[in-house]
């Protein structure tokens, strides 16, 4: 028995008992689970938190997700792309780099559903194989940013004072550039390569993730269960990683999923500007940039990759917004 069920239970009853309250709530939220709990993590803070999300919590999230068709569609499309990213080379009907002079700029047919490009390469195969690069670069960039940003945010928020001030100001410097501009300048310095792209995405997202974690820590460290752990004489590291960190997870996950969807934007834009994945590896952005020259002749060379990026971006946005509403209901959107 943990704190969630009790909390959810009592607040639901509380909500029903007070008609005035109930009217306000129906206006505010669409599903009954969210009505009493302004945020899952807030409910958690009332009692001793467990180290991982318990079964109950997961089924609560699932229950809420089922009621959001848009988010569900996002998740399904995202999973589809994830499969393409993992098994792309085996799914693709052709090798992505096989050229054929006879098949140059062919319009879509049954053999080549997306048509062929200026070198006679199958566009569908290039799009499918290119999925992996986007996922790997954006995914690892976001992952490393989480892994580095989280401890920075934890320490900064927990220690406070001068340390906090210095760390936050240094991170603010990175935020005082438009992100694509900073990416461009950094890449021009270290040169475009896959490892460097991951590095740049990581550097860009560390400040944002560290900020989210820090603000959670500031909120949580005054809570009773943290106080209790301190009185019990727990070590600092225990309090940070077993008490505070698990409770910071929902907003952290939401932020990370948003960052991931921006990283697709970033990687594709850098590819478009010629600073992304280097040819002949298939890159969606670069593919679109090259296809611009053939647009009036062969519009499919451009429209299919562009449509694919649009589909993935929309799906990731729907998913991360759904995740926010499921994990942090009632918390205002940015």
């Amino acid at each position: 028995m943990d704190g969630f069920e009790r909390d959810g239970e009592s607040s639901r009853k509380g909500g029903a008992a007070d008609p005035q309250d109930e009217i306000m709530k129906t206006a505010e939220t669409e599903d009954e689970f969210a009505s009493g709990t302004p945020g899952a993590h807030v409910a958690q803070t009332a009692t001793h938190p467990p180290a991982v999300l318990p079964q109950k919590m997961r089924s609560l999230y699932w229950h809420r997700l089922k009621r959001r068709p848009a988010a569900l569609v996002g998740v399904i499309i995202f999973c589809f792309f994830l499969i393409l990213a993992m098994f792309g080379p085996w799914i693709a009907p052709y090798e992505f780099d096989v050229q054929s002079a006879a098949l140059r700029l062919q319009s879509p047919t049954v053999q080549h559903p997306f048509g062929t490009d200026q070198f006679g390469r199958d566009i569908l195969s290039r799009v499918i194989v290119g999925t992996r690069n986007i996922f790997l670069l954006g995914g690892f960039g976001t992952l490393f940013a989480v892994l580095i940003g989280t401890p920075i945010g934890l320490v900064s928020g927990y220690v406070g004072g001068l340390v906090d001030e210095v760390i936050m100001r240094l991170l603010d410097v990175l935020l005082s550039f438009p992100s694509l501009l900073l990416a461009l300048v950094l890449l021009s310095v270290i040169g475009p390569s896959n490892a460097n792209l991951v590095l740049v995405v990581t550097i860009l997202y560390i400040p944002m993730l560290a900020r989210v974690v820090r603000s959670m820590v500031l909120d949580l460290k005054t809570k009773e269960f943290v106080e209790a752990a301190r009185v019990r004489g727990e070590r600092q590291s225990y309090i940070l990683f077993r008490e505070i960190l698990p409770n910071s997870l929902p907003p952290l996950l939401v932020e990370a999923s948003m960052r991931f969807s921006y990283s697709i934007f970033m990687v594709a834009s850098l590819g478009f500007l010629g600073l992304g994945v280097q040819p002949p590896s298939p890159d969606w952005g670069l593919q679109i940039n090259e296809a611009r020259n053939f647009f009036s002749l062969a519009p499919w060379t451009l429209l299919f990759p562009a449509g694919t990026i649009a589909l993935l971006v929309v799906a990731t946005n729907l998913m991360s917004d759904g995740l926010r509403q499921v994990m942090l209901p009632g918390v205002a959107r940015d």
Binding site: A70, S176, P178, S179, L181, V185, S269, F272, A310, V314
Partner: protein
């Protein structure tokens, strides 16, 4: 209030100085010797040495930095190494073009965004709201080059209404350049619109649930009066901040849009500088963007404080 302004101003100045250090250090550790890069591999050592002398590359790093920052602050922005032209007139020209594009984009997305956000909030949970919310969500983070190529394919290639390339004449004013500005401005507006819509919607929803709005309704004020005098005045506060912050991005962050349309703005100049590895030009253009970014953030803070007196004391 004065105290608040002073603190914010100090903060922005600190950020700009730290950013200038970052720019300077980042561009100084560029791999490869600048002199070799500029003169080619077969230049004599003497020629390279002369060039280093000329660029001040043999001075200690701190002296180089203070020289450069002093030069930047006093308006001596130096020469571009790739075009050998003076940087200042070039950057100012591009800045003017960027401002024109920003103004047109601004005129599109600010009113449309506020209107859509307001409608979504007033018709909350209806199909209109769903359509606006999902639609704006779809456009957040949609790369500009994707929406740009789709717009070009419809309006310049299929319909032939507007030019697909916006390489405007340097002397042309807003009016002559206007047809070339429409497509890039719409592209930019589509990306920025979503933020305004979401911000306006969520803050309007909050305000609609306050007691004073309920009181206004219960005392029988006409709905339009409630919306315009009670709701909008309060719900636009966060939106105004978002709008002010977006100025910085509009002036220097439109690298992709400007390069798709070939528009001679500041963003494309940055890209040009990066591609040519033109260090003086990179330093100046990025510094100008950081300045605009910092100032627009400062304006956002000020506006927020002026419009919402509570913030000044926290």
């Amino acid at each position: 209030m004065l105290h608040f302004i002073a603190r914010r101003l100090g903060f922005v100045v600190l950020m700009i100085v730290l950013s200038s250090m970052l720019i300077f250090i980042a561009t100084q550790v560029l791999p490869g010797d600048v002199a070799t890069m500029m003169l080619g591999r077969f230049a004599t050592d003497q020629a390279k040495e002369n060039l280093r002398e000329e660029l001040g590359l043999n001075l200690p790093l701190v002296a180089q930095y203070t020289d450069w920052l002093g030069g930047f602050a006093t308006g001596d922005w130096g020469d571009s190494v790739s075009t050998r032209a003076e940087i200042r007139p070039l950057v100012l020209q591009r800045l003017r073009n960027s401002a024109m594009l920003a103004a047109v984009a601004f005129a599109i997305f600010v009113p449309v965004g506020i209107l859509l956000g307001l409608v979504a909030a007033l018709r909350r949970n209806s199909w209109v709201d769903q359509a606006i919310s999902v639609g704006s969500l779809a456009f957040i983070g949609l790369p500009e080059f994707v929406s740009a190529v789709i717009l070009i394919s419809i309006f310049s290639i299929q319909l032939g209404w507007l030019p697909s390339q916006s390489a405007i004449d340097p002397k042309s004013g807003l009016w002559e350049a206007f047809p070339s500005l429409v497509l890039p401005a719409v592209t930019v507006a589509l990306t920025s619109l979503a933020y305004i819509v979401r911000m306006t919607r969520s803050s309007t929803v909050d305000v609609l649930q306050t007691d004073y709005v309920r009181t206004a309704r219960l005392k029988g004020l006409p709905p339009s009066r409630v919306v315009f005098t009670h709701v909008l005045r309060n719900s636009l506060l966060p939106t105004i901040t978002v709008i002010a912050i977006s100025i910085g991005w509009l002036m220097g962050g439109l690298i992709v849009t400007e390069s798709v349309f070939g528009y001679p703005g500041l963003g494309r100049l940055v890209l040009f500088a990066v591609q040519r590895r033109d260090i003086p030009l990179i330093q100046v253009t990025v510094m100008v963007v950081v300045l605009i970014y910092g100032v627009s953030n400062l304006i956002a803070d000020m506006l927020y404080a002026v419009l919402n007196p509570r913030i000044r004391y926290t």
